[in-house]
């Protein structure tokens, strides 16, 4: 069972196709202007696309002729700035979702929803008396009160400070565990997507770039566009060739072994994640078990708390710089600083090659 989406529109440009697994949290990630918010709004029925085919478990919401109005869709929507009704208390806000429920039961149910979102104590307060995190929770409670089949969240954590965000991630996952609604979360933050979503859809210029389980998309981009969207810094050009009967990736003077077959000689682009650049420790030098050892010079080091980013210029590749991530303590231990020589390796399996389409 899944939510099948096919949306085509002119302004903004959308040519989008995806299938979201039911009951899972899917993140929709893309740069600003990629159309992700418009897509969310099309799903909510707030935008009427030129052509749309939105089907959830057999029920068609939009197919170019028939457009199911927003209020009839079994959705919950949390807008970017929460959209709380300013003249109603938190309780009143949630009760507005529950008008189908008669009188006393409505209030009770609303309190339960607020409680599930950990904001029961805010029930009698107005939105302007609430903090950002509390508003977010109330908006969530209100959206979930209708027991929707699809919950849409539009960058819900962008207006909240970092510390609050962490606890909100946890709470959202707990809520989801208790009430497994299909959720689509729009965000431009990859880390957020990594922490919240089991599925990831990359979108750029209104088109799907890659979709699949989060871990897979993050570690195995299937195209250069995807790699760029995932902000993978180590993106280079090379040649695929067969050398002594074995498939090789030629990067300047280096011949790297790769985990795929090659037929013939061709140019290509390839990438590898910074965390997959392994430091060859001087005390345990290269042995036959390590792939692709390369020497290089450190051009820059940046310490980010417990982790450090090291920029290395590989030998024989003047002008090319790659990024490596190390625990900060390793910098001292192995005396890595700007100017020092270093040897690193990338496993064959971690080299992601994109052949030109």
């Amino acid at each position: 069972m899944s939510l099948c989406i096919e949306v085509r529109h002119d302004a903004p440009r959308l040519d989008f196709r995806a299938e979201l697994p039911e009951g899972e949290i899917t993140a929709l990630v893309g740069p600003s202007g990629s159309g992700k918010t418009s897509l969310l709004r099309a799903l909510a029925g707030l935008l009427r696309p030129r052509h749309a085919q939105i089907t959830l478990a057999g029920e068609v919401w939009d197919d170019g002729e028939h457009h199911l109005p927003t209020r009839q869709r079994p959705i919950g929507f949390v807008p970017q700035h929460y959209g709380l009704f300013p003249h109603l208390t938190a309780l009143g806000n949630v009760e507005t979702s529950l008008l189908a429920v008669p009188g006393p039961a409505r209030r009770q149910r609303a309190l339960e929803c607020l409680d599930a979102a950990h904001v029961a104590e805010c029930a009698g307060r107005l939105p302007r008396q609430l903090s950002g995190g509390q508003k977010q929770r109330v908006a969530l409670a209100r959206a979930l009160a209708r027991e929707p089949r699809l919950l849409l969240l539009d960058e819900p954590f962008s207006a909240v400070d970092r510390a609050t965000r962490k606890s909100l991630y946890v709470e959202l996952r707990q809520l989801h565990a208790r009430q497994p609604t299909t959720m689509l979360l729009v965000t431009h933050d990859l880390d957020e997507a990594a922490q919240l979503a089991s599925h990831l859809v990359l979108i750029d210029a209104g088109q799907t770039v890659q979709a699949g389980p989060t871990v897979e998309v993050l570690t195995r981009p299937q195209s250069e566009t995807a790699a760029r969207l995932l902000d993978i810094p180590n993106l280079f050009g090379g040649r695929l060739e067969v050398h002594e009967g074995r498939p090789r990736l030629r990067w300047g003077p280096h011949r790297l072994s790769i985990g795929r077959l090659v037929d013939g000689d061709s140019a290509c682009r390839f990438a590898f994640l910074p965390q997959n650049v392994l430091l060859v420790r001087p005390d345990k030098p290269w042995g036959a078990h390590l792939d692709n050892p390369i020497d290089g010079q450190v051009t820059d080091v940046l310490v980010l708390g417990s982790e450090a980013v090291v920029w290395i210029e590989p030998d024989g590749l003047a002008g090319e710089v790659l990024q490596m991530r190390l625990p900060t303590r390793a910098l001292d231990r192995y005396r890595i600083a700007t100017g020092s020589t270093v040897q690193f390796s990338v496993r064959a399996a971690d080299l992601i090659v994109f052949t030109p389409q």
Partner: protein, 223 residues
Amino acid sequence: MDWPAISLSLKLATATLVVLLPLALFGARQLARWQSGARPWVEGLLALPLVLPPTVIGYYLLVAMGGHSPLGQWFEQATGATLAFSFTGLVVASVVFNIPFAVQPMQRAFESIDPEVLESAKCCGLSAWQSFARIELPLAWPGMLSAAVMTFAHTLGEFGVVLMVGGNIPGETQTVAISIYDRVQSFDHGAAGAMSLALLLVSLATIAVSYGLADRLLKARRT
């Protein structure tokens, strides 16, 4: 004090409110949501009474309602009384020249509602009517009250249009403003002064209340 004139003015202001407010409410809400290149033209048309001299408005109203106009003749056949120079004619004129005073505050109030709030209402499953009654009206009520207050006060003070369309018939179309004019010409400065002062105080109170309401509207926006 010319009590019949005061009473007439109050009746006129009340009748204007009863007729104009519902129409203006509907119009203001539609305008607030309307996206079109034609919108400024419609808004300009509705705002004309603000910039046109009362005599221009009066002239056109007389042409539209006078004894030679289709509307005037229909009215005369239907009721036996003329439309111009009658209280009913005044109510029609008053509704027309108060349009911007009623529509603009309400339109501003509807416009100031955050679109995210309206979208959330839809996503909560509210029908159009429920959204209007539960969300929009409560958020826009200061604008509505402001419109009512401004319309009422403006009607009390209108002179030029009332004179042209209503004439100066005591008990029928002689409002307070015209009565003051009349009294001055009759050298009855005592009455003129008393009524002028009363109108001044009412207008002042009206504007103060209106500004206070505008303030409340602003405060309610800050969520």
